[in-house]
Each structure stands twice: as C-alpha cells, then as structure tokens.
Amino acid sequence: MARIRTTKNLGQRVDRTYLKRLYPIPLWRRILTVAGVLVALLWLGIYAVARNQTPYTSGALTPAHAFLGKKCAVCHGDSAGIGKKVDDRQCAACHDGPVHQASATFNPACVSCHVEHRGDVRLSAGIDAGCLQCHANLHTKTGVPAVAAKIDSFANHPEFAKKASSKDATGLRFNHQKHVGELSQKCADCHAPAETAQPASQHLSKGGGRVSSHALITIPTYAGVCLPCHALTIDDKLTELAPHDKPEVVHPFVQAQFTQYIAAHPGDLGKDGAPGSAKAWVDFKVAAAEKKLLEETCTRCHTFTAPQGFATAAVTPTAIPARWFTKGSFDHSAHKELTCASCHAKAATSTVAADVLLPGIGVCRQCHAAGSASAGASCSTCHIYHDWSKEKPVEGKYVIDQVSRLNP
C-alpha cells in the first residue's frame, strides 16, 4: 500500500478552523508583549507612586542641582502646556544671575546657555550654542559689534586681540633670549604662578567657575625675580641695595646710605678720588652711584627721561599687563604639563620686551579643537559671560530639612 500524497488527502487532513486555536509561538508572543508593557509600566508606576519623576529627566542633573533631583517643579514650575520651559524666573529663585551684557540686543534665557540634565557638567560654563545665539551673527544695540561679528566655533575664532595688536607696551626692556638662551634660565625663575589663592572672582568673574586660583601667572616683580642678578648695588662698599623705587625715593636712600656709610667709614673719605667731605663724598658717591644706576643698572630694564639727572628722572611707567586676555581667561595650571616654550616659543628668540610673546590662537588650536580627541573648544573653556561684578546677593530660602525633604 504505497503511501500516495494527493492534493485531496493532504487538504482533508487539516480541519478548517485550526486557526481558532492558539499555538505556542503566537501565545508566547502575546505573553512577552504583555509582560514587556507591564514591566515598563511597573517601573514607571513605582516612581509615579513616589511622585518621583526622575525617570523622566532627560539627563542627570549637575551635582549642584542634584538635590533637586526629585522635585522637577522647582525649576520647571507647575504650568502645563507645550514646552514648559524653565524660564529665568525659576532660575532666579535661587540664583540671582547678574544682568547680561549691556550691549546685547536681547537677553537670552538662562537655559539657552545653561542646559541642565546633561549629567555632571560645569553647568555654569554654559554651552557654546548659547554664546552663538549672538556671536554667530553679532548685533549689538549700538549696531557696531565690539568684537568679530561671526564667531561660531573656536575654529573660526579670530586671533586674540592683544596678539593682533602685536606690541607689548611694557615700557621696559627685557631680552628673553639673553636670559633663556645665554643664561639658560627657566621660565619659572621669573614667571611663577600665583601662589596665594586669590579668589577667582577677584580676577575673573563672580562665582569663579572652574578657573583655579593658580590660573594666572604673577607679574614678575623686581624683588621677587630680578633682584638676585640685578641687585641694585649702589656701591661696592655699601651692602645695602637701593630700593626698587622711583628715583625720587632711591635718591634720598642712596644719600642716606652714603651718609651712613661715610659716617661709619670716615676713612673712606677722599679715597679713590672721592672728595673728602662727607657731604661731597656723599654727593660724589651718590652721583656716581646714580649715574651707574641710571646708565647701567636701571637702564638695563627701564627707560628714563631724565633731563636733570637721576633724582628727577621720570621712569617711563612700566605696565606689565597682569592679564593679556581681557575678555577670556587662560588657566596656566591646566597646562602645567606643557613647557612654557611650547606655547611661548618666541620667548627664546625675543630680544625686545615689546615683542608680544603671547601665543597665537593657532597654538591653542593645536590642542583645542572640535571633536572628541582634543581638549575642549567650547566658548566656556576661556570666556565667561556674566558680569559677576554686578551680582546681587541672594538670601537663601530653604532650610536644610526642607532641602533634605526635597531630597527625601
């Protein structure tokens, strides 16, 4: 009885309502679906019960706001509706952010720069997009933008203003090359980061932000730096050094010194061709010292306009800028690993103090560029927006247990 397969006996062996019954795969598909949805709802349900809306946050809050984690209404307010944006009033509740740039055509919203829910970021730094609201295509109230109108990224950031002006009117003379090259001095011998923790605000902006106190390089002071090599030796006989002060201060000191010396060393009167009288000796010595000072010691760095000698010499005012970057800020401590020369390369060859040794923006771009492999190139890396000087004090509203309650 060969087993024959005909259309009829194949067709007939299936009963026509087999679809009504449920089979494993479709069954499991349904079970899993329901299960999946249940899990999801359960997960959200639990939070909803605890009236904790963290799951819906679009990202972790910055540590600063972390304590508000559960209370979305604090920032977001209660008003329903599309795009319940956090408007400035919510921020102002706690922070009384200073007023915006005077010349801004509009006051961007806090959130346009300070975008929360991005996890552990320096919220105060804001995001570039916030700056670009204006700077991408700068218009100011007065119509004339003070800086380049179209800056939308570090890449097309214009050259630093100071660098652009290419002159360092310090009123001094200094030959880096001599010091670094011949005398193989280290940069740190002169330029030392500021030791003392100056409140950033003092320098930068209220609220500080990340710029650390050591960010700035102190101005090399005579006393601190130049003294050992460029002692203001009045005379070889005097052990005292001249004070590093205006001539009108140095002159009487020298005289006093000489007088004191002579008084102590009357013997030196008339020696070496010096007048004999104490006063004359003193004058003689003073004049000689001052001349030495004037022509040698002091003119090594300073330039004088001394039509009548040292005493009344007018020292061209020295103006070593404390901060090159007026608008941005540069944090030397962040670049500790780099050698000074790697940025200030021209220092090694600059002979004239007027050379602006500030590295160009190109140097910065070598590390700071868009893209994840390079150091941050967002505006907030260097610039601060708010004018913290106009910060208004904020009285705290919360007491700890409230806050802690906020954060049960």
């Binding site: 259309t7 009829k8 194949l10 026509r16 309502t17 679809l19």
Partner: protein, 720 residues
C-alpha cells in the same frame, strides 16, 4: 369442423382439422419436448427440438406441422431421439450452464431437457465470440450468452403485450434479440412489463431482485390492488408478483414530515389522496438576521470595511430546480402537490439526496415505491402522458423562462411553444447529440446532468456540465449548422427538446432573443476555442498529472517568498464568517505550493449530481455554492482536490429552523469583494490567483522563450 384420423406412436388419434401434430399429441397425453413453443404463443418452429417422424423425407417440426389424415407420427423413434439429442447438444455447447436461471430456480428448460436426454458434455467447442450481457434495465438483466433465440420473448413483447420493442437482430450465428434499434434494454422504449422475462425458457432474461429490500413502515400492496391503478394494468401479473413488496401504502397525518432535504433515499412517492407542501427550509436559515444599530466602532469600521458588491444570489431567473414536477420560486420557496402527483423521482432513479423537505398538508395516503416499480410507472405510456401534461401545465412555462434568453418571450408564444416541445428521456451514457451531426434540436435539461465534450485529435476535452436549467444546441442551430460538441447523459436525464422549425420560428418572431442567443452562442464558441487552443499547447506530464490545466483560477503561493505566516488563511476565514475556504496544504509545482482552495475548474466534477443545483457558475467562470445548499455532501466527495468541505450550520433558532445540518463551503474568489482576500492580505506578495496555462506557459512549453508573466520580481527570461 372436419376431423382427422392419424396415429401417434401407433396410438389412433382423432383431432379437428388444422390442429398441429404437437397439439394432437399433447391432447392425447403424449408430451413432445419443445423449447421455442409456448402454449400462449403462436408456434414458429425455430428450435426444431419438437421435430418428429411423420413419414416425410425429413422430420417435421410438430409444433407447426398441421396434422393430416392417415399420418403415422413417431414422436420418440430412435431417429427422432438421435436428432433431438444432437440439437440439444448443439444448443448446450454455447450455453453458459449453469445459467442464471438454473442457478436461481434450477428450471432452465434447455438444461433440464438436456439432462433428461442424458447429454452430459457437448462434444462441440464452446462459442468463441461472446455476445455479452446487458445490465442497463432496472428490472430485467439480459444475458445474451444464455439466449437460444427461441423467439418466445419476441412474440411475448410484440404479439401478447403489443409493446413492439423486441425483435431479432444480426444474421446467422451472430443473430440475437434486439431492443428497438439494438439499444441497451434500459435505454429502449421497453415498458418493463416483464412479459419477455416471464416467457424466456433459459436464463437469458431474469428478474433483477430489487425485491430483497422490504420497504419498512407500511402495508405491502397486493397485486390485485395494484392492477386497479391505471398504469399497472398493462404490466404482467407475474412481474408484479415477483416485485410485490417493492411498493407499499403509507399513511401520513397532517403536518408530518415525509422526507427531509439532504437525506439520502431510494424511493419515490405517488400521492393517492391528500395534499403535501414542498419547501426548502435551508433558504429560511440564510435570511440576513436583522442587524442591531451599528456601534460607533462599527460605524467607523464600516468606512474601511470592504464594500459588498450587490451580488444577487440567483442570476438566471428566480427559481430553484428541485426533484418534482414543480420548481420553487426564490422569493417564497413553497409549492403544493396533490392527488396523482409523483415526487422523489431523481432520488429514486439516480439515488440523489432529497432536494427539498415535504410535509403533509392534510392527512394523506401515498404509495412509496422502489426503483423498479417507479421504472414501470415511468415507462407506462398513459402515465408518461399524464406526467408530461402535468409538467407542461405547471412547470414548463417557468422552466422555459429560467433560460435567461427566453425570459423576455411573450406568454402566449411560450404557451404554444410548450405544446410543441417534446419531453425526451435518456439514460446513463446515452448520447443526446454528437459533434458534427446536423443540428436539429435545442435541448433544455429538466432532470439529471449531461456532459458536453469536444472531441479533438489529441483527445476529448470536457467543456461543461449542465444540470437542471442548462441548455445547449444553440451554437449548432444558429452558427454552425452542426452540433459543436457531443453531449452524453451522466445519469437518467430528461430534456425538453424544441425542434429546429419551432426554434427558427421563435428566432424570427423575437429578434431580441435571436440577438441574445447569437451573443451567448458566439461567446461560448469563443470560449471553447480559446480553451481548446490552450489545451493543445500543454506538454508537461506533471502539470497534467495534478490536473492543473483544469483550473480557471488557481491559487499559487511562491514558497520562496512565503514566510508561512498564515495571514492568507486568516483573511479567508474573516471573509467567510470564520470558516476558511483555503488551507495552506497541498502538492507543489515548481517553486509554488498549490494550496487546497477551489480551482474553479473548467470541467467542474463537483457540479454533477447536486440535487438542488446549489453549486454552479453564475455568469462568470467562478464556481459558487448558493445559500439553498441542502448539505448532502455530494460535491465534497466529487471534488478530486478536496477543496469543498462540509460545515455545520449555526442554529438560528428561527421558527422554520434550518433542518439542513451542514452546508458545503468552497472558495468563491470573494465574489462580493473587489479582490480575493487571500491575495489582498498577503504581506509578502507570495499568494497569487493565476490562470495556470498562462502563468506556467514558460515552464510547460519552454520552446516559447519569454514567459508572459514578467512580474517584476521574477528575473526575466529564465526559471530559477
């Protein structure tokens, strides 16, 4: 009367003049053995067994030889016995002893006489060319082998009953008895009176024992009482006696159900007294139950749910063909039958399921009869006339009107047409008209099924099956002059035949009908030609093996796209109240699966035998099962591909509850939808409804290079 003296076996005998020697001997107690002579029949002296020695040069056949004065007759002399034995031996050598009669009742005259004469084994060789049997009659089985051509049956039929059906055919050794134009007995004008069977000496004509099955539930009717009925008068008493318990008298009280639609049966009913009501209960169950107010969702869903094309169930004319003299009209399917009516003819003759439910309106008395008795009644000339008159009066008009083409005929033309048509019966296998013969009739089928076949050099091609209401012959009469195809009867068929003159007269009288008929004819002609052209191009054996070329619209599923997601089956069950008409199971052909879903065959075997013509083609090629299906399951069994299944019908609890327990279901190509749901719902474009001859043309006759079905996703010009 003058008397004659003669001596028989030396015994003086006096008889009247003109008596035959045989009678003279018989009157005096001398029995001369005979075979072809019967007392009640005219002697013809062909068997020669009765030859005796009358002193002439040759022996004389005593049955025909008139006695003469002074004749000396020796009936048992050695010479006579010698020749009698030789004749019996000759007959016995061709006789299939023991013949049917000898086996049944042991009284075959030839074998008895041969035994009496001591003939054991005939010395002659057996007959080489067999003359065969004829089983076509319902009542009498004919075994030509056992026939000794004694002519007793012929005289019985022609002279005693004057039915003039039987005669001698052929010549010499190939001579034999022949009905009408030597047609099988069942197909001849034989009225089954049984006279020939009663008078046959051997087992050539014996009674078919339908008699064994005794009909339950009624008192058998005696022969005398049967004789009182008009149509039994001409039937031979012995025959009625042999079949007496094949007919019983039944009494039914008012309201009692006599037979139920869809049941199987083998009897017919003749109403003696009272009236019955005939109706189709399955129609009532299908009425659309009133829909409550649609819910919002349904309102909304309605917008998207498929638009139902207003398909009216019965395209051609408003009535349902059932198995009685009257048809049921579609709107109120109830009819009445009264005294003298017959119903259940098809069930009894062709063993079809009952096509309607019959319930007694008043108390009534009925004759329930088996097939052989019904056959007698039907062949009875008087009753045939009465049935015909009945049919003409009641059913012919609207039966003619069911032919869509005649619907616009004027009533009086139909009136005179119905007088001139003939009601002709054909039995199984008979040819109604043969391809190529001059067309002389227009046929309209009343009962039974016919098959229309077009003969080809390469073989025969079945064009269509026609059941009740089917008509053919118009192509012959109008277009070709000869019949376009051969039509054979599949079972007992009764057709209304309109001869050529009446037909032409009708065409002349009614130009619009002529136009319609021409259109139908040319349409059918075109279809046939196209169809036969397709067949001749086929060459692949497997393609034919699965009967794919039969399909008009075949569902194929591209197995390389189908992800077996059963979406098609789900769509199908949605489109058909939860019962799918498609099962994704079946044989494969090339890379396609041919699932179990109706193929709408060109030669739809399923349509044969449907008692109510529920499964049919409306006006297009799709096979559709109408609502009034009675659930007999015949089409499901006939379908060779198992595409039709039976489904329980939901109980609607309506007063006339659906008595039909189940219904046949098969794919109707989503008639009322713009597109078959399975194809529409397949997300992977794997299911397609195609005409296999075109779709697989590239495969089955590779000589034609470019496949016509350049569906975008099939790389052009090549198979896998």
């Amino acid at each position: 009367m003058k008397t004659l003296e003669l001596t028989i076996d030396d015994k003086p005998v006096t008889v009247e003049e003109g008596t035959s020697v045989f009678d003279a001997a018989r009157l005096h107690g001398i029995a001369i053995p005979v075979l072809c002579h019967a007392q009640n029949e005219r002697p013809i002296g062909v068997c020669r067994v009765c030859t005796v020695d009358c002193g002439d040069k040759v022996l004389q056949a005593s049955c025909v030889r008139p006695a003469e004065n002074g004749m000396k007759v020796f009936t048992a002399s050695d010479k006579v016995k010698k020749h009698r034995r030789m004749i019996l031996e000759l007959l016995l050598s061709d006789h299939p002893s023991p013949c049917a009669r000898q086996r049944v009742s042991g009284d075959c005259e030839l074998e008895t006489q041969a035994a009496a004469e001591g003939i054991v084994a005939p010395r002659f060789s057996k007959r080489v060319s067999p003359r065969g049997q004829d089983d076509s009659s319902l009542v009498i089985s004919v075994d030509h082998e056992a026939c000794i051509l004694c002519d007793r049956c012929i005289r019985g039929c022609d002279e005693i009953r004057q039915n003039n059906v039987l005669g001698r055919g052929g010549k010499g050794y190939n001579a034999g008895i022949a009905f009408d134009l030597n047609r099988p007995m069942g197909n001849s004008s034989c009225v089954s009176c049984g006279e020939c069977m009663v008078s046959c000496p051997t087992g050539a004509l014996t009674n078919k024992s339908v008699v064994r099955t005794v009909l339950p539930g009624g008192d058998p009717v005696g022969v005398e009482e049967l004789k009182t009925l008009p149509f039994f008068q001409k039937v031979s008493g012995t025959f009625l006696d042999l079949n007496k318990n094949a007919v019983i008298r039944r009494h039914f009280k008012a309201g009692e159900v006599i037979c139920r639609e869809g049941d199987y049966g083998s009897t017919a009913f003749y109403i003696l007294e009272g009236e019955v009501e005939v109706f189709l209960s399955s129609m009532s169950s299908k009425k659309e139950t009133a829909k409550e107010a649609p819910s919002l969702f349904e309102m909304f869903a309605h917008v998207f749910s498929p638009k139902k094309k207003p398909g009216s169930p019965a395209q051609n004319g408003g009535n349902i063909p059932i198995d009685s003299v009257v048809d049921l009209s579609l709107d109120n399917p109830v009819a009445r039958l009264g005294q003298g009516d017959i119903f259940g003819e098809m069930t009894c003759m062709n063993l079809y399921p009952r096509s309607a439910t019959v319930r007694a309106k008043t108390d009534c008395v009925m004759l329930e009869m088996l097939r052989n008795v019904l056959d007698v009644i039907q062949r009875n000339k008087t009753l045939r006339a009465e049935i015909e008159k009945n049919y003409r009066k009641r059913a012919l008009e609207d039966h003619l009107r069911t032919v869509s083409v005649f619907s616009s005929l004027s009533p009086e033309f139909i009136e005179n047409l119905s007088r001139r048509v003939e009601l002709v019966r054909y039995s199984r296998g008979e040819v109604l008209c043969r391809q190529g013969e001059t067309a002389r009739y227009f046929f309209l089928v009343r009962i039974g099924f016919v098959k229309m076949v077009e003969e080809h050099a390469g073989g025969d091609l079945v064009l269509a099956y026609q059941g009740k209401g089917g008509h053919f012959g118009e192509i012959g009469l109008i277009l070709r002059g000869t019949y376009a195809f051969t039509v054979t009867a599949l079972d007992n068929v009764e057709v209304v035949r309109i001869d050529a003159e009446a037909f032409q007269e009708m065409l002349a009288g009614f130009p619009d009908i002529a136009f319609n008929l021409k259109k139908v004819a040319t349409e059918r002609e075109l279809h046939n030609q196209r169809h036969s052209a397709a067949v001749s191009a086929m060459s692949l054996e497997k393609f034919l093996g699965q009967g794919l070329m039969e399909a008009n619209s075949l569902l194929v599923i591209d197995l390389e796209k189908c992800t077996r997601c059963d979406q098609c089956v789900r769509a199908c069950s949605d489109a058909h109240e939860g019962v799918t008409r498609l099962v994704r199971e079946g044989l494969r052909f090339d890379k396609y699966l041919v699932p179990t879903s109706c193929r709408h065959c060109r030669d739809p075997l399923c349509m044969i035998g449907c008692p109510v013509g529920a499964i049919r083609r409306r006006n297009s090629l799709e096979t559709v099962i109408e609502d009034w299906c009675v659930g007999c399951g015949l089409c499901a069994r006939n379908c060779p591909f198992g595409n039709i299944t039976m489904h329980a019908v939901p109980e609607t609890g309506a007063p006339k509850a659906a008595l039909a327990k189940r219904k046949a279901t098969s794919c109707d190509l989503c008639q009322n939808l713009p597109e078959p749901s399975c194809v529409y719902a397949c997300p992977h474009d794997a299911a397609k409804r195609v005409d296999p001859n075109d779709f697989f043309r590239d495969l089955i006759s590779p000589s034609i290079d470019s496949g016509p079905f350049a569906a975008p996703d099939v790389p052009h010009g090549g198979r896998r």
